[in-house]
Amino acid sequence: MPRRVLSILGFTMIPALISSVTVVANNNARPAASAAAPATDAVARGKYLVQFGSCNDCHTPFRLGPKGPEPDMARQLSGHPSALVLPPPPALNGAWVWAGAGTNTAFAGPWGISYTANLTPDKETGLGNWTEEQFLMALRSGRHEGKGRPILPPMPWKFVGSLTDDDLKAVFAYLRSIPAVSNKVPSPVDPPEDTKAEAKQ
């Protein structure tokens, strides 16, 4: 299969998969005949949404298990491990425009290098100091803490942000209930700067 086709498939299928998962999650906000939502309270519902949203696939580092890479649940949702210092990403060109680390917690592309965030309630390195409102604003606006830099690819914030307020609050409640993991995720790395742009006056 040509490289271009592979790339297009990758770019279209991942968001589509995430999108479909989100739609399923949304549909489960209402009673469904085939798959009743297991939630009886916000934390349980949040857990259910996090599982369906595949949040662990990127925010929990992978380790190599007997059958291949699998999420290391001892470090559940703690983001890119601070101890794992990666070499520079491979050169990307043509149809191959982004790359991912083996842990599935670091990604390189036209946006620079992004690392998945620590979503545990650790106060220094996770979401421990975030408010529920900040969490909702971040996922609605696509901005860090709802105000700052853009949340970078491949985080599908638009799909997650399409959940209802109640569902996002449930996700936040669940994330506050999991064990805190102290893990300072590195800051994202920018692509090279173009310093020549001047505003028209």
Partner: protein
């Protein structure tokens, strides 16, 4: 009898020609206006479900024209927000008979019904006009209207904004912000109105402010608000024109940082990580200015300079702009580093030069302080 008929016919002719409308539209203090707000949707006490579809329906212009309704008073903040070189025009309308309440010099409460508009033009063409509207006591509503090619009307932008509406530099395009982005800046501690404050409207304007605009006839200032009783404040509160103390460069640099950074970087910010004291009050003392500078120099940021040891980057390093996160991030227009993080795609060179020179100066200040101790 004949004289009466002549007068009546003359009055009808004047009305038809628009002369009467023109006379009736002469500027008058808002406090004595008849209450004429276009009907807009939304039950009281709750933010409106729907916004006007067109700018012409918001009350900015006289009906059927592009002439600004004289009840909308033009103003110009002395420290403008940088938007990639956009030319801006701004207006405010207070509901008839209402006043701003100034609990103190920096805490202004605007009456329900207040509207502000800001027009953005690039290359002499209007691109968007934003409206900030205190529709109900429940809060503020944000909208942006995008101008058509014929420059005859602007239509409501989607809630998610509108990307890349006009090129502002080679390869850089201006985007209309989403309403969430409006909230990011306007709902971050303090007043929701950012460019209309005692410091910004001071008649003692800073000639060194980057991209400062000259006051035009008819523009209102803090003095106008006091003289026309459009603001309720303790007697004498605004007796002196607000001014940031210090030398000219300190004044201009802190004024610029206050207007361009202080809406997020202030002690009341909803984001704990960005509570730097960059929002300047109307009447700071010289000691408060020193405290701000010392506070910035003492802080490290979560953002790290490239190739630095994590956690060691200073917000401001006196004498070394290149090692001051504040300047490095002002220079950047890369997604993870640029400051401000939204609303601009081209760095503000005039401001970077000013703030860099100011940080250079601070080195001398530090040495003088050190020698004095």
């Amino acid at each position: 009898m004949t004289r009466g008929w002549v007068a009546a016919v003359l009055a009808l002719m004047l009305a038809a020609s628009g002369v009467v409308r023109t006379r009736a539209a002469q500027p008058r203090p808002a406090a004595v206006e008849a209450a004429v707000q276009p009907p807009l949707p939304g039950p009281p006490g709750r933010l409106p479900d729907r916004l006007p579809d067109r700018l012409s329906e918001t009350g900015l212009y006289l009906p059927g024209t592009l002439t600004v309704d004289p009840r909308n008073r033009a103003f110009s903040p002395q420290y403008p927000l940088w938007t990639d070189g956009a030319r801006k025009a701004r207006w405010i309308r207070l509901p008839a008979g209402s006043r701003i309440v100034a609990r103190d010099a920096d805490a202004w409460e605007f009456p329900v019904g207040t509207r502000l508009w800001k027009e953005f033009a690039f290359d002499g063409r209007r691109v968007e006009t934003r409206m900030l509207w205190r529709a109900t006591a429940a809060g503020w509503t944000y909208a942006s209207y995008v101008w058509n090619d014929a420059q005859t009307e602007a239509t409501l932008a989607p809630a998610d904004g509108q990307a890349d509406v006009v090129e502002v530099a080679p390869g850089r395009r201006h985007s209309v912000p989403s309403r969430q982005d409006c909230r990011a800046c306007h709902e971050n501690g303090g007043s929701n109105v950012l460019g209309f404050s005692a410091l910004q409207l001071s008649p003692d304007r800073d000639a060194g402010a980057p991209h400062g605009e000259a006051l035009q006839p008819g523009m209102i200032t803090l003095r106008t608000l006091v003289d026309e009783h459009l603001i309720d404040a303790a007697p004498g509160l605004f007796a002196r024109a607000p001014r940031i103390p210090g030398d000219a460069r300190t004044r201009s640099a802190l004024g610029y940082l206050s207007a361009n950074c202080g809406h997020c970087h202030n002690p009341q910010s909803t984001a704990a990580t960005v509570r730097f004291p960059l929002r300047m009050p109307a009447y700071a003392s010289a000691a408060q200015v020193d405290e701000v500078i010392d506070g910035l120099a003492a802080r490290t940021t979560k953002w790290d300079l490239p190739h630095s040891v994590p956690g060691t980057t200073s917000v401001l390093k006196p004498g070394v702009p290149d090692l001051s996160a504040l300047v490095v991030r002002m220079r950047s227009r890369r997604p993870s580093s640029q400051m401000p993080p939204l609303g601009t795609t081209v760095a503000d060179r005039d401001a970077i030069d000013l703030v860099s020179a100011w940080i250079d100066d601070l080195d001398r200040r530090e040495r003088v302080h050190g020698a004095a101790q």
